[in-house]
Symmetry: C2
């Protein structure tokens, strides 16, 4: 079996901790068994490891998340990178074509798709193993995992099984799908043994490849990446699952939760305060997640969620907190904190002047052994003040060592790179017009090659 | 008449906006008639001007507030600076001795003391003028203004008048004082025509000078400043007013309010949001005061106050918000924002390292025409990156001009100063051990003298 984890999304449902650069699956706010914190991606990767599934897994994602995923689950994880973000149908098609034409996976192999952020027990992954057997035994085109509902939720999609005479069967034929029913309807569906759709489905690779051929979609990776922009922007559910003739569903009775909103997420947080601050005892069922350096004091306020990051501060009643996405939808904000392949940075200060000049001050953390690409900027100059650590700097072909206290001027168009020998912290003052990430012309990435290039 | 405004306090009742460097009277959060914002100090100074009392006024305060007061009410305001902070009795004694031995004020002159932060209508200051007449007509040692209570508050001190046959008299003899009674007792006191003590009292200068002589306290300014540390640390109320034999009280029926806590202060704020953010319509009676650059979004939370500054973030139910002082009492925090004679600065970032090194990054705003003192540091080096404006820099006797983009290295013990020609913004990275304000050896303050000193 091959496992494809879909790492999508971004959005603002967990604003201000999630932003365009950091989707919810990268927030390190879940409790690990050892008491430390982990992200949803780290959690699922740890669980895959526990269940011996790690070696079968690929992560399908966009270019924007590549560095984040590598920083959470390691450089070794195999990624299938979409040329652009579309929807789950194109993403899964690309993954299938990658397995078929690049990995050489057999058309008889079972492929299982799952979101990268299910909040489940390990037993969920045992069911995923069983799903492979269901495909083989049932002869179904598609087999899903259905979560046994615990209440008549209006938020989820329901999988309604065929009425059979075998209530104790290991798996069922699917009769139909129903999206977000009203509560009474949901209660009625549950009586009919309907299950929640948790977005996990399996199929033989050959099934999807044939489907792509039928639709005249290229089944070779290079060709598909070229035509990727013309693929229909639709979900795999609508495009494939709901049109399939022969579908099975395998029930799962354990813990499963959608941690997509502040009120559901905070239910899984064991302590009221994460980060610097004080929550008074009379603040009942209130959670604070503080990623800022300054303290947050909560005084006599119950049933609230307070989340603070360099992007902003949310103070919400828990019950209405899911409305944050709607409230923030017109807020177009530059991310103030980003994780990168080489470390991370934090925007400390940003000013604009009436003549159009912009100045941004960042604290940049470069991890030992990692380096920036060799690059230059068209529209900005930089001043670096090294505040800790040691590194090797290349600038316009010259090599020097850098240590705490050193100051570096990087004029417009000056080519530069830096390798950290020990962990480095740098205060960077950027001055120019349009201080955007895109103003970066990369000349090289790998340090050995950069040195060779510069010295030649 | 001479007016002495007492500018004391600091404290944490309005944390995080008030801190050890910025008392509540300097918070620019009150609505001005022209729609802009003003501080309590600016408001009272504006009202004194409206009432023609500005020229009679002095502000008694500590060294720490000197620059703030000048930045709020101008360089011309006469200050009486305490050598150290004690309490209102020593502060008023010093002011009286200053008037007597430095200004040469007559012993027959009436001196009126008032807090720097009364939130009142202009008519309050008309009553202050009447207070002078009360002293002269009644022959009382002390005359106070008593605010007509609007409800049986448990928070205030009450001035209980003598039972006289003249309920319509312009002023009354005082029978006794009662501090913070319970509600029923307060209601009973109000029936007896008791008034709230708002901390305004008048006396002839000679009364207090004689009292000081009796207590063997020096009545010459230079001598008193030397012995200031040995004066009893007690309030003028306890030490003088409550022991006086013959006291009058003048009623005031207008608006008066103690804006010392978040719940009372926010009642005077006309809009729910000050600063960057969103407060949803279903957040009823909630106020946000945001001094941070990042947005605050409040969603469905009523009767709350949210206050954010570079020092921290308060999220409180309004009713219990006065408890903040108690909650923060053990929090010993460096102020992250300070106003100074020459402008202000904001701490952007602060890091400590395991070897004891500290690094602090500030954005420093120097106003056109103002300059830093000529000074040096024993324990830190600095790197300045000028991000806007122009100035003249003196460093170790050399003069140069500075403009946006220039970078200045200031090693330990390097003498330096800067005059802003236009408004300047500078990113300053300080590195060293013990990054405290006290590590600053001042060699000169006035720019002309600094230049002369350097060029000689």
């Amino acid at each position: 079996m091959k496992l494809i984890l879909l790492s999508g999304g971004s959005g603002k449902r967990l604003w201000p901790l999630s932003n365009d650069a950091r989707s919810k699956q990268f927030l390190r706010i879940l409790d690990r068994p050892d008491g430390r914190k982990e992200s949803m991606v780290e959690r699922v990767w740890r669980q895959l490891g526990d269940m011996g599934l790690e070696d079968s897994a690929y992560i399908a994602t966009g270019k924007a998340q590549e560095e984040m995923i590598r920083s959470h689950v390691g450089m070794g994880v195999p990624l299938i990178i979409e040329p652009e973000r579309r929807d789950t149908f194109p993403a899964i098609a690309l993954a299938a074509v990658y397995l078929y034409s690049i990995v050489g996976t057999s058309l008889e192999e079972v492929v299982t798709i799952l979101p990268v952020d299910p909040y489940v027990e390990n037993s969920f992954f045992s069911r995923i193993k069983v799903l492979e057997r269901v495909i083989r035994e049932s002869g179904s085109d598609i087999a899903l995992i259905g979560v046994k509902p615990t209440y008549p939720s209006e938020k989820y999609g329901y999988i309604v099984p065929e009425k059979t005479g075998e209530p104790d069967a290991a798996y069922f034929q699917v009769n139909r799908f129903t999206e977000k029913p009203r509560e009474e309807e949901a209660a009625e569906l549950i009586k009919q043994s309907a299950l929640w759709n948790c977005g996990v489905f399996a199929f033989k690779l050959g099934y999807l490849i044939n489907l792509l051929i039928d639709r005249r979609i290229p089944i070779h990776y290079d060709e598909l990446t070229k035509q990727y922009g013309s693929l229909t922007k639709n979900s795999f559910d609508y495009e494939v699952v709901e049109r399939a003739g022969n579908i099975s569903v395998l029930p799962y009775e354990g813990y499963w939760k959608d941690l997509g909103t502040w009120n559901t997420l905070t239910e899984e947080m064991s302590v009221p305060l994460t980060g610097n601050g004080i929550v008074t005892d009379d603040s009942v069922n209130t959670h604070v997640i503080n990623e800022l350096g300054i303290p947050i004091t909560v005084l006599g306020l119950s049933n609230a969620v307070i989340a603070a990051s360099p992007d902003g501060i949310l103070v919400a009643d828990k019950v209405v907190s899911p409305r944050i996405k709607e409230v923030m939808k017109d807020m177009d904000q530059r991310p103030m904190y980003e994780e990168r392949r080489w470390g991370h940075y934090l925007v400390l200060d940003y000013m604009t002047f009436s003549d159009g000049r912009e100045v941004m001050t960042k604290r940049v953390s470069l991890e030992a052994g990692k380096n920036f690409s060799y690059h230059f900027h068209h529209k900005r100059s930089e001043v670096w003040t090294v505040i800790s650590g040691e590194g090797q700097m290349v600038q316009d072909g010259e090599i020097r060592t850098l240590k705490a206290g050193d100051v570096v001027h990087i004029p417009i168009q000056s080519r530069h790179s830096l390798l950290a020998i020990t962990d480095m912290e740098i205060i960077e003052v950027m001055r120019g017009h349009e201080l955007v990430e895109e103003d970066r012309v990369r000349l090289g990435m790998e340090w050995g090659a950069i040195l060779e290039f510069c010295l030649s």
